[in-house]
Amino acid sequence: MSDDVETNSEVSVEAPAPPPEELAPAAPPIVVLDSVTARDAAAPRRRARGTLTSVTVALGAGVFAFVGAPEDGTFALFDAITGARAPLRGRVTIAGVLPTRSAPLRARIGTLAPEPVLPASRTVAEAVDMAQKARGEAQARPMEVLASLGLEHLAARNPSALSFAESRAVELALALSTPSPLLVALHEPLADVAVNLLGVVRERIRQLAASGACVVVTTSSPADARALGDDVIVLHRGAIASGMASADVLPGTVPLLVAWVRHAEQHEGLAPIRLLARVLSARPEISSVAWNDNQDASSQASEIRLSGRDIDACALALADAATEVGAVIEAIAPASPGLTRLRAATETAEALRRATPGQSLSSANMLLPKGAR
């Protein structure tokens, strides 16, 4: 593949390129999906909720965030790569081996499934112990696994008495403690997990990727995808619609900043949020300003949303303007577009591609520049 966007149906996302002085022979991909058509069984009566259609992708070491709804095939992708369900067509291999056929391979795949499936046992500690023994670990240390995410308090509980988020937290701890992992597949690792140490989760995911594992995150949150992934791959209607480095702008969106500000002291005339908006609207870095004026509750902060080409420049402009009008910024964060907006943009892009002669793609997959960054 060249470094340009390609026009065939193959997608290749590889690990972050090392600095020039550390260039080494390219490692073979860890996860390979070859024309895979797969389905999940997540709908009632085990019908398919989403399907993957002729997806071809090769993933090396690194963190790859697949963003999309279950209907777009995130569940089907998860089931296919973890070996839970064989694909209907095509071939899924992890390090050259079929995950549905190889038990030793599965011992090196860490999974956080959409639905937790802990082994039936008396206590959570016993379930973790069983999992570690099934992985072939010489010495099972369930308390260490649970303590890694601060879940020791769940050790004596009955797994069937855990809440959904608690079960997923235990599964996440197990997935992140997989010995010598080749693949760690995590579905929504930052949502619906009863873990307070989400920073530790992010750090551990980074460590796993740095140690050479392929970490695949499936999520319906573009914000989580960008927060976790080196590469963000958009799944749309069972196909890879686009892929990009997480620092890039997601399709159909502009960088957006949301901040909560309050006035430092009582002002006469215009409310500080309006004053701030007026000052910001004159700044060339800002392309649009929107605010929610919280006049009734004077002690609470008002929300202001900014967009512009460069999110850092927007933040600096906001800081300058706040100093100028005497407003206090209580919090500031990049706002990520929701999945609905992302899907709408993807559909528009696909419609445009279909309408433009010479640019229509026969495959369901949109293409990714090699290296994707």
Partner: protein, 243 residues
Amino acid sequence: MSSLDAASGTFQEVHAATGIRLGFMMAARRLISRSTLLLIALSLALAVVAGIVERRVTTLGAVDRSLVSTFRLVVPLYCFAIAGSACHRMGLRDAVWPVARFGASRRDVALGIVLALVIASAMGGVLLSVAAVVSSYGASSRPLVIELFTSGWIGALVAAAYGGWFALGATFLDRGRGRGIVLALDFLFGAGTGVLAAVFPRSHARGLLGDVGPAGFSQPRDCIALVVMLLVLAALAVMRARD
């Protein structure tokens, strides 16, 4: 496989015994539940009621009639329900996944589950036979110890064979609904005396209880048929659930 082996380092392949033990533990844990206790209580109540009714009609041959009615209805239904619990109301292949996904072989885990299912079925068979005998026992019956021993091992063997059948049934259709088909076929064809009936435990149970067996089988042949049935069907179930 070489790439996996080379990179494994401290990683150890799981022994078959570990997989079997984990599968057995998981199934046992699924079976030790309130719903199983309720099932046992209900089955025992049915067996006891049948025994009391038969004794009220006449004490002559009451034990045999009580056992026949228990083996016709209660034992198959009990084994059917136990198989569902051991597999967590799923297919056998899906039932092994909570442990198999961590690296244990599906085949080993399935063997552990089938083992637990067969043992639970056999124990239930013994219990129900004993309940049927005790509740219908009268003065004209044979010595109680002999009745209990004979009906006990027959109950264990028949129920274990049912366990094998339902384990195989659990590998067919979505959520292991093949179990239901096995139960229906047993009710439909097991009551006969032809060659087809010899495939199902019901006909052999009848033969062992002193009635006409299938295809002119003698009682020792009924025993052998049930043992072969158990082994072959359990092996087939495990094979169908393997990786």
